[in-house]
Structures are given as C-alpha cells and as structure tokens.
C-alpha cells in the first residue's frame, strides 16, 4: 500500500532543480502549465516535450521513477484517447465501421491530448514534489501567500495544516493497513461482493481510523504546545529561502519557451489541437 503512493514523493538529490527556491518553483510550475495549454500544434508540443526531457535530465532523477508516477493516470489517458479517436470528426477519413468512423485528425488530437496530460503531470510532479521537500513547498506557499495575511486570511495556519497532513499521511496509511489486517483476522472481507457490500465493509476500517486520528491530533496538540508553539507570530525559520542565479535562469528559460511557443503557434502551420 505504501509503495503505491509514488505520486507525490520527494526524491533526495542535489541537482539544479533541487536547489532552486521553492517559491520560484511554484511560480514557474504555474507558468509552465500555462505554456503547456498555449501549445496548439505538433511543433510546439515537440518543443515543450523536449524542454520537459531537459528538466528530467536537470533533476538527475531516474526517468523510471517519473514514468512510474504516471501509472495511476493510465485509465484517464486511455479514456481521453478513445473519446478523441472515435468522436472527433475531421477531413481525412481513415476507415469507418458501421456508425464508427475514425479520422486522422482524431488520432492526432488524441495523441496531442495524451502528450499534454503526460506533460502536465510529469512537469508538476518533477518541479514540485520530486525535487522539493514538502516542508520547503509549504514554506514557499506560505511566503508567496503572505500578503494575504494582511486581509486576515489564516495563511500560517493553512501551511501548518498542510505540513501536519503531509507528516501524518504515511503514519495513517500504515495504521489503515494494520486495522485492515486486524479486521481480516476477524473474518472481514474487503475484496468480494457487490460494490455496495464492499463499501459497507469499509466502515469497520474507517471508524477505528478516525478515532485513532482524533486521539493522535489531541496528543500532537499537547506536544506542540509543550514545544512552545503559539501560532505564526514571532516564529523564525531554520531554512530561510534564498533566490539564486538558478531561479533567474529558470525564469528566463521559461519566458523564452513561452515566447517560442506563441511564435510557433502563430507562424508554423500544422494541425491545431482542439479542446
């Protein structure tokens, strides 16, 4: 169970990407997503895909890990591909079989949309979760959102909640597994029966899990209080975020990429993605 949560795990490293400022990484990841959505034809997709491969190389993370993180998406990818292949009408009819007709445009479109989904997921996981510790990420988010604290939004509380949630996800997963085993030992059956029966079988897992989570929360609150936690005011941080030349390089490259995409979209011919 623990191993299946590859999506959203930090990979230790000392690469260029690891050393970037999390605040910039957040901003650039959003920028990058915009760029991906700006892509209209096959050339721009090729360019962005190349840059994504460059990012993987820059992160020094084994590409296998990134491919593994795409596994949960296989279903979504298949469904979107199939919908696009069979439903999209174009000019070049490849073949038709009864009411179903497949056009070349449909296949290209399906391909481009799949590439887009893969790019979206791999680039965001690469930039945010794989190369940034969850703590750095919440820190970055807290500082980026800091101006919102002026209009009384609970920014620090929000980031503290995120930190604690991230800290307890593995612990609670482990606990879920323990409870499931305990219920199995008492004869519970989680894998057979109708959907309704299976959903019902989850109740004896959820109740103990919730009770224990509440107890943990109470103990954690006392522990935090004993460690002098009084909220965000007057707190300092051990790791202060510093922007470096890397962030400037990242910004310049992303801006150039964006420009290139816009220009190619405008002047290069080729199939234009719909959707």
């Amino acid at each position: 169970m623990k191993n299946s949560v590859a999506f959203g795990q930090y990979c230790e490293g000392k690469s260029f990407l690891h050393k970037m400022d999390p605040r910039w990484k957040l901003v650039l990841a959003v920028f990058y997503i915009v760029v991906i959505f700006l892509c209209k034809n096959i050339f721009t997709f090729a360019l962005v895909a190349l840059s994504a491969i460059g990012l993987v190389a820059l992160s020094e993370i084994n590409p296998k890990i990134i491919i593994r993180s795409l596994k949960p998406l296989v279903m979504i990818i298949c469904v979107t591909a199939i919908i696009n292949i069979f439903w999209l009408k174009g000019e070049t009819l490849l073949f038709s079989f009864g009411p179903i007709s497949v056009y070349l445009e449909g296949i290209i479109n399906a391909f481009l949309i799949v590439v887009r989904v893969i790019l979206l997921v791999s680039v965001t996981t690469l930039m945010l979760t794989y190369t940034t510790t969850p703590i750095a990420l919440t820190d970055g988010l807290e500082q980026l959102l800091a101006p919102l604290a002026k209009i009384k939004l609970p920014v620090h509380e929000f980031s503290m909640m995120m930190t604690i949630a991230l800290r307890f996800i593995p612990t609670l997963l482990e606990e879920t597994e323990k409870i499931m085993n305990a219920q199995r030992a008492r004869g519970a059956d989680f894998s057979t029966g109708s959907l309704k029966q299976r959903a019902k079988a989850l109740v004896p897992i959820l109740i103990p899990l919730f009770i224990s989570a509440f107890r943990r929360a109470e103990e954690l609150a006392i522990a935090m209080e004993c460690r002098c936690y009084t909220g965000g005011e007057g707190r300092t941080r051990m790791n202060v975020l510093h922007s470096s030349y890397r962030d400037l390089v990242g910004l310049i490259v992303t801006v150039l990429l964006c420009l290139a995409v816009v220009l190619i979209n405008k002047f290069a011919p080729g199939y234009r993605i719909s959707m």
Binding site: T133, T163, I164, E219, M224, E225, C226, C228, T236
Partner: protein, 287 residues
C-alpha cells in the same frame, strides 16, 4: 545544588464528564523538590498518578490545589500569566509515550528545529543548535531523513534532540520507553543517561521498568495519587515488601537476592548489576 522544580501539596482531580464518568482524584497532596542536574525516576503502577504529575509539571494541566515552582517562579494560582507559562516551558520539556504523535515535521532536522523556531531564535543560530543537538543524540547522519521511516527508538532520540536544541534544563520522559522494543529502549536510556552526565540535563523519567529506575540517582514511588517512597534506588528497592504491596516489581536481581535472604542466606539486597549480583551469590556460597 540549585532547585529547579518544587511541588508543594499538589492535588488534581479529573472532572466528571457528561457521560457519567465520575470525577477521579488522580493526585493527592504531592510534595517534592527536584534540583538541577538530578536524574529522578518516578515509578508507579497504572493509575498511580505519575502521568498526571508529568502533565502538571509541563503545565498541560493546572493543579486544583497546592503550588508548583519552576526555577523559583510560582506557576500555580491566579497571578500566573501566559508569559510565565511560556517561559517555564522553555526550561521544562516533555517526551511522550507514543513517538509518532509528537513529531511535527516530515524531515528530521526540521522537526528538531521546530521548538527553536517557535521561540524565535535567529536562523543561523537554529542551524548550529540543531546540528549540535543531532550530534548529541547520535543522529547526525539521519538529519535529512524522513521522520516516519525511523525506528521507535530513533524517533524518541529525535524528540530528545528537539528539547536539547531548545536548551531546556529539564526533560520529563512520560513512559517514553514503553512502546519501544528492547534495542530501542536501550538506545534511548543510554542517550538519557549520557545527557544527564555530560550536559547536566535534569531528567525526570517516568517508567514501570525497574531496571531503568536503577539507572537514576533517585527514585520516587507513587501509589494511588501519592508519594509512598523517595530515595536512592538502593534505599527504595531495599523495601521490596512495600513495593510488592503497591503492586510494583523490584529489579530481578533484587528479587533474587531478596528471596535468597528470606531463605536464610546472608546476602546484600541492594545490588542491581547482574554481574555484581552473581559475584555476591558466589561470595555467599563460598562461605
């Protein structure tokens, strides 16, 4: 020796709750003084009030009656401000029973830094303190590891490092070894004893493992919310019959020697080290 904690006639009762659970008098008229640099073990069976006492000392709970002084400052009564409590918490920390429920951050060094960050220590100083604290508990090479992957003993050492980084004078261990395996227990007890010796850290160790209590300078035995014995391990465990009456064990060596004595052998009964115990038996047998 400077006094660190003084309790005078502390009493605490858990209030009755809505479900009809009656009020429970957990502590009755408890008085003691703990000096800086002492290693005190508090023994007692379940429900003897030892964890309640720990919570009072950390100011998680407030005593109904009696007074508590930390570092000479009064911590009970109406005149106590939040500031006072905050400053007392800088000196006295607690390591809890469940190692999982006290670590806040996902990365070891971030967790060690948590307390210092709350105190508002400048960043560079936190870095130094964290490195020092990790070195003291022997966890330097785990600095960048994820907390949930550590063993129970390692997690407790991280919790101890968090308290060291805050430069606390006293750590209360509330059955911190109860959920650990023997190896983890040994590792945590070793760390505690070393910190007490080398860093002059005041240690209050609540436990029901008798052999851990023998490592302390002083043992306080609690029963039914009150203190029934207070003395060196030798003095306390020499009163084995009283301990048995309070539903407590004595260390295995003491138990063996005590039974030999009852059987008519002339042995000393205040020995806790297995080797010394063996030597004592050999001495008596040779006679």
């Amino acid at each position: 020796m400077k006094e660190l904690i003084r309790a005078e006639h502390l009493s605490y009762a858990y209030p009755s709750d809505e479900d009809g659970v009656p009020a429970h008098q957990a502590l009755k008229d408890v008085s003691f003084t703990i000096n800086e640099g002492e290693f005190v073990a508090i023994l007692g069976h379940n429900g003897s009030g030892k964890s309640t006492l720990a919570k009072l000392l950390c100011m998680v709970l407030e005593a109904d009656e009696g007074s508590l002084y930390i570092g000479g400052k009064k911590m009970t009564g109406d005149s106590v401000s939040d500031e006072d409590i905050y400053s007392a918490r800088r000196d006295v920390g607690m390591v809890f029973q469940n190692p999982d429920n006290q670590l806040v951050a996902t990365i070891v060094e971030e967790d060690v830094a948590f307390g210092c960050e709350n105190l508002g220590v400048p960043s560079e100083k936190i870095r130094k303190r964290v490195d020092y604290a990790l070195a003291t508990v022997g966890m330097t090479k785990y600095a960048r590891h994820e907390t949930h992957r550590l063993s129970g003993g390692q997690k407790q050492r991280i919790a101890i490092a968090g308290a060291i980084a805050m430069k606390r004078k006293c750590i209360i261990f509330d059955e911190s070894t109860a959920m650990l395996d023997p190896a983890g227990r040994k590792e945590v007890m070793g760390t505690i004893a070393r910190l007490n010796r080398e860093e002059n850290l005041t240690v209050i160790h609540i436990t029901h493992y008798m052999n851990e209590a023998t490592m302390a300078d002083r043992v306080i035995v609690m029963s039914d919310g009150g203190i029934i014995m207070d003395g060196t391990p030798g003095e306390v465990f020499n009163r084995a019959t009283e301990l048995w009456d309070a539903n407590l064990d004595v260390p295995q060596t003491t138990e063996l020697l005590w039974k030999l004595k009852e059987a008519g052998y002339d042995v000393k009964t205040d020995i806790f080290d297995p080797c010394e115990c063996a030597a004592e038996i050999v001495r008596v047998l040779k006679k």
